[in-house]
Amino acid sequence: AQSVTQLDSHVSVSEGTPVLLRCNYSSSYSPSLFWYVQHPNKGLQLLLKYTSAATLVKGINGFEAEFKKSETSFHLTKPSAHMSDAAEYFCVVSEAGTALIFGKGTTLSVSS
């Protein structure tokens, strides 16, 4: 069965410093992996997706993630945090090509 584990429930960074949100997955097959962001009272927005092409995936707003099969990881990074990045981030796996399986989320706080 497929699953996702987000290793940190809360990450706090200062504006201008790097962001690292960690995600490990479990999948029997070649998975598709995604990162979504959810701002308060807003809908889920796709940041980036991995679907078995390049292992380093670039997304919107300067975010990127690297698929590492040997480590079953798909960590999300950004070189320099901005105040507007404060939100809830979800790592997501899809194996069957239909339903998405979400992690429990990581709350990113950015201080000035």
């Binding site: 995604f34 899809s94 090509g97 239909t98 998405l100 992690g103």
Partner: protein
Amino acid sequence: GAGVSQSPRYKVAKRGQDVALRCDPISGHVSLFWYQQALGQGPEFLTYFQNEAQLDKSGLPSDRFFAERPEGSVSTLKIQRTQQEDSAVYLCASSPDRGPGGYTFGSGTRLTVV
């Protein structure tokens, strides 16, 4: 429309009441999904439609939950005899094909059962 539209935005129901939540997907999108997001949790899959066919309803938590998409466009999620544990945000997403890569989520309906 330009995005996935869900209504109502907020719903308060008394325990035991029936509710109906509406989802208007992006025009022409074949696939439609419903998810339930409890407070402080990630969304959990409820059910999936391809056009008017409900292909997967394995995530529906009980037989009090029912979803339909009779004309392959608008979908309604109905919850009968609501319970407090049904309180959550219900999210709808649509996709132009069968794959998950093209999902667009609506803003959700926040259901509170009192």
